[in-house]
């Protein structure tokens, strides 16, 4: 009771404006998306209702195993493939870049400078970074010029641009930073004396990497993986531009349905996408406590 009587304006109140933004532009929109995924619609309006057609339409023919795989499963499968391949390459590249920065760069100033060099592209336009591959990978691009000149091929290679290859390349190009930052952060927390102890006990470089550094970097690896996987799961822009608008993705289905004003159908797809994404994250966060890592 005494405590209540002495109640002063608390510092916690400072979080109110921030909270309001998240209530109004994050929480309510997601709840509405869930509700509207059960609504009906026609060409020009959405109609309050409680139907499951939007969901059953998504999985139409999906459980008829005599036919070919349904569009929905195919799209998810292709998106999962992009997730996995992108995750693999960003992890390998991100890990070694972070490893170099954390253990081989001695001066703090250089560490900051090189780290900034890796970060700066993140603050520039993604679309520009995507289209900047055109002069390199296109039919008359530099890579094809090189291949033709050296005689490695006789005809220009078409699979370089507007293909699965260029999509993965762009993802790796755009999102390796999401791996570098958390892994680097984990590495900087490793007590150097642990590594020295392992070394003094006769471990070689590879053993130190595998038995000491990688286990201690696990939180960073998990956080980076969450970022990369979720960003690829919901993507429709990179797959659109780098796939020449020909390769499907879940994000793209939602986007197209929205442009035809089939909002409840888009909402149903969004709910499934969100549920899958959350499931993946939930499994991954079981492994670590994110808050301790900042």
């Amino acid at each position: 009771m005494m405590k209540l009587l002495k109640l002063k304006p608390s510092v916690g109140l400072l979080s109110i404006p921030y909270s309001l933004i998240f209530i109004f532009f994050f929480f309510i929109p997601l709840v509405l998306t869930f509700i509207i995924s059960f609504w009906d619609y026609n060409e020009y309006s959405i109609i309050p209702d409680f139907i499951f057609e939007n969901y059953s339409y998504i999985f139409k023919d999906c459980f008829n195993f005599e036919k070919d795989m349904c569009v929905t499963f195919k799209t998810y499968l292709s998106t999962f493939m992009f997730c996995f391949i992108t995750w693999f390459f960003t992890l390998i590249i991100g890990f070694f870049v972070a490893y170099f920065l954390a253990f081989y760069v001695n001066s703090v100033t250089w560490q900051i400078v090189l780290f900034l060099i890796c970060t700066i592209p993140f603050w520039t336009s993604n679309v520009i970074r995507m289209i900047s591959w055109i002069p390199l990978l296109g039919r008359n691009g530099l890579v094809n010029d090189f291949l033709l000149y050296t005689g490695l091929t006789d005809i220009p290679q078409e699979w370089l641009l507007y293909s699965g290859f260029s999509i993965v390349l762009a993802f790796v190009h755009l999102y390796t930073l999401f791996m570098i930052v958390p892994i680097f952060n984990s590495m900087m927390r490793i007590d150097k004396s642990i590594i020295e102890a392992a070394y003094d006990n006769g471990a070689n470089g590879l053993q130190i990497l595998w038995n000491v550094i990688i286990p201690l970097c696990k939180p960073g690896i998990v956080i980076g993986s969450i970022f990369v996987i979720t960003v690829v799961m919901g993507d429709f822009i990179t797959i659109g531009i780098m796939g020449g608008q020909q390769i499907p993705s879940i994000g793209k289905i939602i986007y197209v349905e929205m442009s035809y004003l089939q909002l409840p159908a888009a909402a149903a797809n969004a709910v499934i996408l969100l549920a899958l994404t959350l499931l993946i994250i939930w499994i991954m966060t079981k492994m670590i406590d994110i808050r301790k890592e900042l």
Binding site: S125, I131, N140, I254, R291
Partner: protein, 289 residues
């Protein structure tokens, strides 16, 4: 300790250089290609050197109204930047102690970073659509002339667009504040309080100067992420498109180096903002140090 200057070291250096080339090489090629002569195409070789495509861009030739899209993006970027700084710094201060709902808010912050952007964009668009319907219903049932005659939509750059972008920039701001306060030496503050300073004075004289360089970082994130934001903005900007949205449209229609010229200009803007921020950061650090 890891041996310096051995084979692994040089492999790592080589690998890092390759990575930097991979990061910057493509952007460099479009900057190069944007300075072609009037006969230039989308690929190499360079057909002469000129600023023709920049003049073309400036004239607005064959391109939608890029000038006003640029202006809109800049204005929105500055507003997002200011709000991101104000809201995330104040929330960051609040988070130094546990408060009612702090765990939920932290969860929402992290969730906002990893919710697929198209889902969020859809959600905000739906919300504002319902708001429109509600406003129209209100107008017709209460017979409000103003609404019945001139109301069109609540969806717009400074309503839904601004909100959707904040859900992307604010988490970065708050996470930076967390990183700052986790390494913050509280003893300065405590001595100020012991000497009788009010909370506001303590903040103004002690805390703020100490966190000022990091605030520059938050501002940098706020502006650049808004200026280049595309996925979350895609459904919620209403009538006026921002620069990245126009740019995305152009990727399918424009087949001249004018798009590279535009790329060079926006990249230049981004780099200038980054440069200025880094300079401010260093200056503030020095002043303090």
């Amino acid at each position: 300790m890891l041996n310096k200057k051995n084979k692994t070291y040089y492999t790592c250096v080589f690998f890092f250089c390759l990575f930097v080339l991979f990061l910057y090489g493509p952007t460099f090629t479009i900057v190069l290609l944007s300075f072609q002569g009037p006969d230039g195409g989308l690929t190499f070789p360079l057909n002469g050197v000129s600023t023709y495509w920049f003049k073309e861009l400036w004239r607005g030739g064959s391109v939608v109204d890029i000038g006003s899209a640029f202006e809109r993006s800049m204005i929105l970027g500055v507003i997002v930047m200011v709000l991101t700084v104000l809201l995330s710094v104040s929330a960051g201060l609040a988070f130094r102690k546990k408060f009612w709902g702090s765990d939920t808010l932290f969860f929402a912050t992290v969730a906002s970073l990893i919710v697929p952007s198209i889902v969020l964009s859809l959600g905000v668009a739906l919300q504002f659509r319902l708001l429109d319907d509600f406003t129209k219903w209100l107008g017709s049932s209460l017979d409000i002339n103003y609404i019945n005659e001139s109301f069109q939509t609540t969806l717009g750059m400074f309503t839904s667009g601004l909100g959707a972008q904040l859900t992307w920039t604010l988490p970065f701001g708050l996470l930076i504040m967390f990183a700052v306060f986790n390494r913050f030496d509280k003893s300065y503050e405590e001595s100020a309080r012991d000497l009788g300073a009010t909370p506001w004075k303590t903040f103004k004289e002690i805390v703020f100067p100490l966190i000022a360089p990091s605030i520059i970082g938050i501002a940098l994130f706020g502006f650049t992420l808004s200026y280049d934001e595309l996925a979350r903005s895609s459904q919620v900007m209403g009538a006026g498109n921002t620069l990245p949205l126009e740019l995305r449209g152009l990727t399918t229609t424009v087949t001249t180096p004018v798009i590279y010229a535009l790329g060079t200009v926006t990249t230049f803007v981004s780099f200038s903002v980054i440069g200025i921020s880094i300079a401010c950061y260093i200056w503030l650090k020095r002043k303090r140090g």
